[in-house]
Symmetry: C2
């Protein structure tokens, strides 16, 4: 089975399953998959704006605000005003945030290695190329949707 229908279905199911596994494993360590990814990104980037986070992960603005709220509620990040742009805020890790990231990061890394590790170098290159091609096709469709339908042009 290699038709588009099957691939789409298998792609989605596999992603969801991986996501759930990640989440379960990492929640045991104190921070969910989504939270750990965010903590790691902020830790790596330094004080980060919400818009940059949304861009990087491909999330809607609301998703990011919600995520930061959760992390802030638990004392893992802090919001600070951006000195150069009064519209913006910078999100940065607290000590507790750094500790949480340090605790979950190895679990995340090991699980990713265990899941993607079995792929051969060739397969990894294939997957990388295929994902890039899919991303291009998705982009084209996103742009197409932004335009009015043919009948109206």
């Amino acid at each position: 089975m290699t038709d588009a229908e099957y691939l789409s279905s298998a792609f989605g199911r596999t992603f969801l399953r991986l996501h759930r596994l990640m989440d379960r494993r990492m929640a045991d360590q104190g921070a969910s998959f989504a939270r750990t990814k965010l903590l790691l990104y902020i830790g790596h980037q330094g004080p980060t704006r919400a818009a940059d986070i949304a861009d990087f992960f491909g999330h809607a603005p609301r998703t990011v605000t919600e995520a930061i709220d959760g992390l802030e509620r638990d004392g893992l990040v802090r919001r600070e005003p951006d000195k150069l742009d009064r519209r913006a805020k910078r999100v940065l890790l607290t000590d507790a945030g750094r500790a949480a990231a340090a605790a979950t990061e190895p679990v995340r890394a090991r699980l990713i290695a265990q899941v993607f590790g079995p792929l051969s170098e060739t397969e990894r290159e294939q997957l990388s190329a295929i994902i890039a091609k899919l991303a291009t096709a998705i982009e084209a469709q996103e742009d197409a949707a932004a335009l009015p339908p043919l009948a109206c042009r």
Copy 2:
């Protein structure tokens, strides 16, 4: 970039983006991606039990109940008691449900064709094989998590 970290990240981002695009396109037609997938599955299977739906999509039981609730609220499906097993219920499409599926199905099919169509036959076979390998690795990890940690055995 073909390391596990990058692949995992790209895989997730691409899935999310595709999912959002699908959802947006199909919501315009009256039923979201998740709902259409469910309607199509039920339409194809005939009166279906919730547990079978959960199995097929890899969802948690709660997810399925919630989804059916939403579809039932909008009059797209109906629950009927299973005559052979009084624990179970059968979910089946109403006329409105069949109509909704018929309206969104072509949109879904076209979009999937547009996104996965650009892949060559070779690439599709590669992707299919890679996904199967990932699924196997994920399964192994799910089973590993079900066992007590090494120190306890």
